[in-house]
């Protein structure tokens, strides 16, 4: 058997786990591993400018490909800087393996230089973690880490490796396990057949059904099954923020996103539905609004691979634990075998009702936001322009805030894994590094990072990484010169007292900033030039382009669920109009 040092084993095991790119930042405790990286070419390391970005980039890689993302950081500050990224991945169930250097074994617990208890500090935000105690354990632990991260309900796994375990002078036999088996971890895949039968029966009896699908459908590669089932029963489909793209966004059966800033028709249809088929969604508080008033007349069928997601906030009438693709396929088969259909007349009435809601308050009609009137650019128009310029075929990452909601509402995603955003944790600074991960995984694809002047400054240092690795991301900065979503809440609930949501003329010149990093900056201030400049942006295929677009400062995101104490049908539709 081949003898390798601990550092070499780390890299070899990553290669054997299928890793092509690892994002990271070196430091003392990780130097043996970095030296092993230097002496091979199978695993390419990408040097970021801050560890948070390394995790977001690996996260973006994973979200856009379905593969497990890989990160390498050093101990202490390297590890703590990675925490925000790990928490982001955990909240959205993104599979990552984060390898952190640790101080040598005999120094652990002595408050050594750059020591932090990484396993302890990350415990609440990881699916699992390992502290490797011996070089002989490394290969097995890394294999387990990849298996755990990517199976069942995915999530990040931390592997903390003390420096002396990677000592180049200590060589041990290397063997990567062919198969990983963990006796205490056996994720469910097949759903309970009796429950599936009950679900079919309930669905067939529905008069006002709706399919509510979430990020689990994308993570579980179940988009085609979801689409097939939806077509089979002709039910309206709504996606959560995390689920956009699981069902084609431009399909007439799609009623838009639901929840806090969901469409009028999606939220209203949910409220009035008699059967809700929830797939890979977790009844998040941004979706349900007041749980006591949630969809009063609905029978809820809930499919999820994670039993703890079922009946956590809303009781499921028919819970089905299983992988979304497997369960949905079983449902399709049973439905086809039964040869039965939903009541045609009831469904015709239901669609008539939904289309009325659509016509009245749908956000895709121009009347939902004021026309620009020639000069002022509405943020919604920017997203529509982006959609046109990219033919709806881009990967779109976003940061967090108003721009995120506008992108989710107005860019119609027809495929899964195209919309990449931090939904659960809501991490500002996610967009740019995530876009790097996407671009590296898809070198020929159009990758746009929709951001705001607030969020982009949280990881703007990564413009330098884009230069080093030639990652031609297009940054669409919706510049409203304020922390827009904070300001919106301050408008609505704090009598427009803008506490710390304005910058008082301290914003940088983003054009000069982009140029300083060797990129192209394009400033857009007039509506008339928007489409033309957007075209220009995407014509510069090999360059990072920073589009600094000045948008209407006063615009709010609507619809918006009324809180507190509102149900899903209680929405603000504009600054003055309420349902």
């Amino acid at each position: 058997m081949e003898l390798l040092s601990g550092g070499e084993i780390v890299i070899r095991a990553l290669k054997d786990a299928g890793v092509k790119y690892i994002w990271g930042y070196p430091g003392g405790a990780a130097l043996h591993i970095y030296d092993a990286l230097f002496q091979q070419t199978d695993v390419q390391h990408i040097l970021v400018r801050h560890e948070q970005a390394a995790v977001h980039a690996a996260d973006g890689h994973s979200r856009s490909t379905g593969e497990v993302g890989a990160v390498l950081v050093t101990s202490g500050p390297g590890a703590t800087n990675a925490i925000t990224g790990i928490a982001t991945a955990y909240m959205d169930s993104i599979p990552l393996v984060v390898i952190s250097g640790q101080v040598p074994r005999e120094k652990i617990g002595e408050d050594a230089f750059q020591e932090t208890d990484m396993v302890g500090i990350s415990r609440p935000i990881v699916k699992h973690s390992f502290l490797v105690k011996d070089a002989t354990e490394i290969a097995g632990v890394i294999a387990k880490a990849f298996y755990i991260a990517g199976s069942g309900r995915p999530g990040p796994v931390v592997v903390d490796i003390p420096k002396d375990v990677t000592d180049p002078n200590h060589r041990v036999p290397y063997e990567y396990p062919e198969k990983v088996k963990i006796r205490s971890y056996q994720p469910t895949s097949k759903g309970h057949s009796g429950q599936i039968k009950r679900a079919i029966k309930t669905l067939l009896g529905a008069k006002r059904p709706i399919i509510y699908s979430g990020g689990g459908v994308i993570l579980g590669e179940a988009s085609s099954q979801l689409t097939e089932l939806a077509r089979l029963i002709d039910a309206p489909v709504t996606n959560t923020l995390m689920g956009l793209g699981a069902f084609p966004g431009s399909d007439p059966q799609f009623v838009g996103m639901l929840g806090m800033h969901g469409t009028f028709e999606a939220n209203t249809a949910m409220h009035h539905a008699d059967v809700i088929l929830a797939v890979g969604a977790r009844f998040d508080d941004r979706v349900t609004n007041t749980t006591g008033k949630f969809c009063p007349s609905a029978t809820i069928i809930h499919i999820d691979v994670d039993p703890t997601s079922i009946a956590k906030t809303i009781k499921a009438d028919i819970p089905i634990v299983g992988a979304c693709d497997v369960v949905l396929q079983e449902m399709i088969d049973q439905l086809q075998d039964s040869g039965k259909r939903l009541d045609d007349e009831a469904m015709a009435d239901w669609w008539k009702q939904i289309n009325e809601w659509r016509d009245r308050h749908g956000i895709y009609t121009q009347s939902r936001y004021e026309a620009s009137g020639g000069t002022i650019i509405k943020p919604q128009d920017v997203i529509k322009s982006l959609y046109r310029a990219t033919g709806g075929d881009a990967f779109v990452t976003s940061d967090v805030g108003q721009h995120q909601m506008f992108a989710a509402q107005y860019y119609l995603f027809d495929q899964p894994r195209r919309w990449i955003n931090s939904g659960g944790l809501g991490t500002m600074g996610f967009g740019l590094p995530a876009a790097m991960g996407v671009q590296l995984a898809h070198p020929d694809a159009m990758v746009a990072c929709v951001t705001g002047e607030g969020s982009i400054q949280m990881c703007i240092q990564e413009l330098s990484t884009c230069t080093q690795y030639g990652l031609p991301i297009k940054i669409i900065n919706l510049n409203n010169q304020a922390l827009g979503m904070v300001r919106q809440w301050q408008d609505m609930q704090y009598s427009s007292r803008y506490s710390s949501s304005l910058y008082e003329d301290s914003l940088p010149d983003f054009i000069k900033l982009a140029e300083a990093y060797g990129h192209v900056g394009i400033k857009v201030t007039h509506f008339d030039e928007l489409d033309e400049k957007m075209e220009e942006c995407f014509s510069l295929k090999d360059r990072v382009v920073f589009m600094d677009i000045y948008v209407d400062r006063s615009e709010h995101v609507y619809p918006m669920l009324v809180a507190p104490n509102g149900s899903m049908r209680d929405m603000w539709l504009s600054k003055t109009e309420r349902t």
Binding site: I148, R183, S184, D306, P307, A311
Partner: protein, 163 residues
């Protein structure tokens, strides 16, 4: 409602902290906790008592099950079960109290396991109510210190929590 949850888990460093962390993260309470390796040295058995309504307990058991180190979880209070707790109690025993405490210990089928001129150390085993009752019974005496093991339990009959 009080529940006794029994957990079979890998005897690995960090496993206990994950269980405890789960409770603190999600705002659940642990009333008592006891853990030790089983006859199979690779496994530990952890018993904890907690309280909550059915929905909370269901979430707790599901979350416990989700921990990678956890092999099996059972709520003992769902069926017939036996529970025991051990208490060591040091009490001042001088003058007329000395004989009275001895009588009480006998009534509760406890044992005096250490004796000094002015104190007894008493060992009592039983369910938690019995231990509470003993403390009540010797309320007149001066208790110096008390240590309780936390509840351990098994289900009745042939049902067993094993691999």
């Amino acid at each position: 409602m009080r529940r006794i949850i029994s957990v079979l888990m890998e005897n690995e460093p960090g496993a206990l902290s994950r269980v405890v962390g789960l409770f603190s993260q999600r705002g659940y309470n642990i009333d008592t906790l006891t853990v030790a390796p089983t006859d199979d040295q690779t496994l530990s058995r952890l018993t904890l008592t907690t309280h909550g309504n059915d929905q909370v307990i269901e979430q707790i058991t599901k979350h416990l099950h989700k921990l990678i180190d956890v092999v099996k979880v059972v709520d003992l209070t769902e069926g017939p079960h036996i529970e025991r707790e051990l208490m060591l109690l040091k009490v001042k025993a001088s003058g007329p109290h000395r004989a009275e405490i001895k009588r009480c210990v006998d009534i509760f089928r406890g044992q005096i396991i250490d004796v000094s001129t002015h104190a007894y150390t008493v060992q009592i085993v039983g369910n938690s109510d019995k231990l509470d009752a003993f403390i009540q019974a010797i309320a007149g005496a001066e208790i110096l210190e008390v240590v309780r093991s936390g509840v351990s339990g098994l289900s009745r009959g042939e049902k067993a929590l094993r691999l």
